[in-house]
Amino acid sequence: MSVYKEFLLLKRDMGGVVTLFLMPLVLIITVTLIQDSSYKKENDVKIPILLVDYDKGNVSKTIFDNLQKSNVFSVVTSLDATPITEAVAKEAVFKGKYQLAIIIPSHLSTDLQAKIDQNVQKIVSSLGFADSLATKSNTKLVDQKEVKLYFDPAVQLSFKSGVMNGIDKMISQIETKSIYTTFQEQLGEEDAKFEQKSFITFKEIVPKINNKEIRPNSVQHNVPAWTLFAIFFIVIPLSINMVKEKTQGTFIRLRTNPVSNKIVLAGKTVMYLIICLIQFYMMVAVAIFLFPHLGLPALNVEGHLILMSIVALFSGLAAIGFGILLGTIAKTQEQSAPFGATAVIILAAIGGVWVPVFAMPKIMQIIAQSSPMNWGLEAFYDVLLRNATFWDLVPELFLLFLFFVVTTTLALLYDKKKRAV
């Protein structure tokens, strides 16, 4: 009867029900669409960047060509049909009109070549080929060159370091290529061309299921993370439901009848757990059937749905336990709603929903281990990305269930202490 009452209360609040089911879907679609680009090798939207070329040589041409080919940037070299100067580029970037400007210094190509010639000549001379290279002799002092990068102060550190690494790699390749070419020219052996491809390459080995590689994409990362986030948001309506009972006076009836508080809370747990599972299945359905129509990869749940449902069930229990504790302690909706929302966001943040736990500072990594959202998220990733079995999930499921038991017990004890006669 308690479950039925909770069902009726929810049914009569259609606005609340729509919010409960619709908002998580809006959330998951929006976040996945936004984050999808960071998982794609090719992006429809290119970031415009400024390139100021004072070199006008081979090096700057190679940098320009590589940036254009990267599919990440569109290179802007002139504004209003006027070539960009460093001062203009600096101002535009620091004002946030562009995120990046690259300033290639003058004579970079010629000076690089001169420096390489000098170095190669020294090496070749020491090997006893000095006579044959007399014509290439050059002792002019070549200053070190500096490619300047201006970043919009608002860009994230990860973007900055990604760009800097990319440019560093590009310049290293240009230098290496020039060195090889110069050696070849100095030695004068046209037929014995150096192999200029990297000798050491790397290959990512990914897990396989049924000989099919499981390549992570934005959907497989985002759907579990934001599904969990939405499941935990059940804390807010549940705690409000409990606070309302106090302010409406029905709490007095619930406390003066012979039915134990445990039964009343069990009724709420069952009803809200059903809601959590409906939310979960709706989000999974959207990820499977709607995402492909939005240009996103479909969520692959093949062989995973039962284990995912189990993780959702235990995550829902943990969220409900927290909601019950909050609803028991809070006296007003003004206390429960903002606290619940903020607490869920904090749990999500330390649980690794936004920033992966491995990328957090050491202290936060330790704290993350205590977030139920981290246990749930790891369990979802274990199922979807690490090909885990039920037994692999037991530690995380146990922690989620323990969290439910502890929070509910605390709520019962608090309630008993407050009203014990």
Partner: protein, 250 residues
């Protein structure tokens, strides 16, 4: 008559309060009485009822209900008491029937018995045609009547009523009082608080006038009026005992 509620030296002081809400309060209520607790605002009436219903913990003293004490027999006590609080303790978005079926089920009532009991009670209090309307659409008087039914569906041996007729029209008040009288005839002991002194004078078999957490006078309405000089009714007794100063309290 057999004692059904025995209160001995009961005291209650709330956290940060300067005065006791109940101060060494002792009372003996007999089975079958309609016992009125009358007093100005802040007298301690609601505190006493809350303690007797198990909602508030006393600071000191003891009490028993039908020879049972909460520490040992909380569930047994809850089965034999009915509570009609001052607030409309109902779910506003549920219908009258849904509210009553839910609260009735909390006392172990179920099936046809419960459904019939709900229909009979709603009928008696003139609400049957509104049975499937949401409580939020009801007037104050209608809510009070449903609130009353929710507390008595399980035929309690003892019924606690905290201001059951406050804010209702004359018609609703009469219906409620008549219903309570009928209930008392079936053996239910009623403990009732009210500010309506004329209503209490007609309705109660016994009265205690309470102020500042202590009993100023106790007896039948007739005896109390007779014992007070120049008193024509209970209101005169009340003013004579508690004075005329305002009792606004926080």
């Amino acid at each position: 008559m057999k004692s059904i509620i025995q209160i001995s030296n009961l005291s209650k002081i709330y956290k940060d309060a300067e005065m006791y809400s109940l101060n060494d309060f002792s009372l003996d209520i007999k089975e079958g009485q309609i016992f009125g607790l009358l007093g100005p605002n802040g007298a301690g009436k609601t505190t006493l009822i809350s303690i007797l219903c198990g909602l508030v913990k006393p600071t000191s003293g003891s009490f028993s209900i039908d020879n049972l004490i909460y520490a040992k027999n909380a569930n047994e006590i809850k089965k034999i008491i009915g509570v009609v609080p001052q607030e409309y303790a109902l779910y506003p978005t549920l219908t009258a029937r849904e509210n009553l079926l839910y609260f009735g089920s909390m006392y172990g009532l179920k099936g046809t018995d419960l459904k019939e009991k709900v229909i009979d009670s709603l009928d008696f209090l003139g609400l049957l045609k509104f049975a499937d309307k949401r409580i939020e659409t009801f007037s104050g008087g209608m809510k009070r009547r449903v609130n009353l039914i929710a507390g008595i569906l399980h035929n309690p041996k003892i019924l606690f009523l905290d201001e059951p007729t406050v804010g209702v029209d004359v018609h609703s008040k009469n219906v409620i009082i008549e219903y309570l009288k009928e209930l008392n005839k079936t053996g239910t002991t009623i403990i009732y608080t009210s500010h309506h002194l004329s209503e209490a004078q007609d309705f109660c078999t016994d009265i205690a006038i309470v102020d500042r957490g202590i009993i100023y006078a106790e007896g039948t309405p007739k005896d109390l009026i007779a014992a007070t000089a120049n008193a024509r009714n209970l209101e005169d007794v009340f003013i004579s005992l508690t004075g005329k100063e305002l009792r606004d309290a926080i």
